[in-house]
Symmetry: C2
Subunit: 183 residues, 2 copies
């Protein structure tokens, strides 16, 4: 713990992380250069390397920062069908309101080369998955079926957003619930 000297500028850290997310979303992981990130953040490369070990660590931190900001709401309305719809809608909103979708898309390919990115990427899914799994459980019956349901629901969203490059409307959450769990 360093207590002597000029303290780290938290604002510089935040602007670095948001700039990282923006540039990675715009260029893709590999084409995102530290020079461009630093220019956009009004910062400098030494400022990066005082905080992170390298580019993968920086991008991983940017993802964690975006997730922490996203605050996943945990519904508990008693109406399971409604809870599922809320989680799905939040997921759609996260992809719509932040550059996270494109970042995730470009990182799916880069995760094999950079273990730190794989960890950060898994974190994106794990959080949503746990929420959705809990909400789906009472509707699904057994655990295996619940896992399958989560993959179908989340899979449909990821498929449309990441693979087909669509921007689903909020109503898509309701359509998914109606399709999978008809009354």
């Amino acid at each position: 713990m360093r207590v002597v000297g000029r303290p780290r500028d938290d604002a510089a850290t935040v602007s670095l992380l948001t700039a990282t997310l923006t540039v990675v979303a715009k260029r893709g992981y590999h084409e995102a250069s530290l020079d461009e990130i630093v220019a956009r953040a009004g910062s400098s490369k030494p400022t990066i390397y005082r905080r992170y070990r390298g580019k993968p660590a920086l991008v991983a931190a940017a993802i964690r920062h975006a997730l922490a900001t996203a605050n996943p709401r945990v519904p508990e309305s008693g109406d399971a069908r409604r809870d599922v719809r809320v989680v799905l809608r939040n997921t759609l909103a996260m992809f719509a309101s932040s550059p996270l979708a494109r970042v995730v898309a470009t990182l799916i390919g880069a995760a094999d080369e950079e273990p730190e990115l794989a960890v950060a990427l898994a974190h994106v899914e794990r959080e949503r998955r746990a929420l959705l799994l809990a909400a789906v459980r009472p509707l699904s019956g057994d655990d295996a079926r619940a896992e399958l349901d989560v993959d179908m629901l989340l899979g449909a969203i990821y498929f449309r957003v990441l693979f087909r490059r669509m921007t689903p409307k909020k109503a898509f959450a309701g359509e998914l619930v109606a399709a999978r769990f008809p009354r």
Copy 2:
């Protein structure tokens, strides 16, 4: 049309395309160097540039080649539930038996930078989608619901294979059909 001079060696073309698919699967799109591809194919860079405009075109051609080899079977058994299962099983088999899965994963991120890759990638999905859509139609009811079903079924597979890096068993096809279209 060139009729004079030494003809193109089709074997060289094929070994180039398969080597491209292998290396891209192993390294990822950006880390796949033409030098490594050429070394594995026992070929040379001029041989590439006599055929393709550049790296994106080469990779796009490699995907088209893999798809053409894959021969998608069109089921027509009269039993719609069975037809859907067959298409899903073929899709799983394609991902299991060729390096295509990893290639698709790494290309999802690269498609935004290279339009040629986006076209090739869309082609991968379009073919499967048409098949699955036709099979699902009688079970889904209206067209909109059929589109949704395709996204859920295909989404679940892509989600597990590409995002969660699982290697689903063949039985997964049956589980999906049972979940979405219970008797």
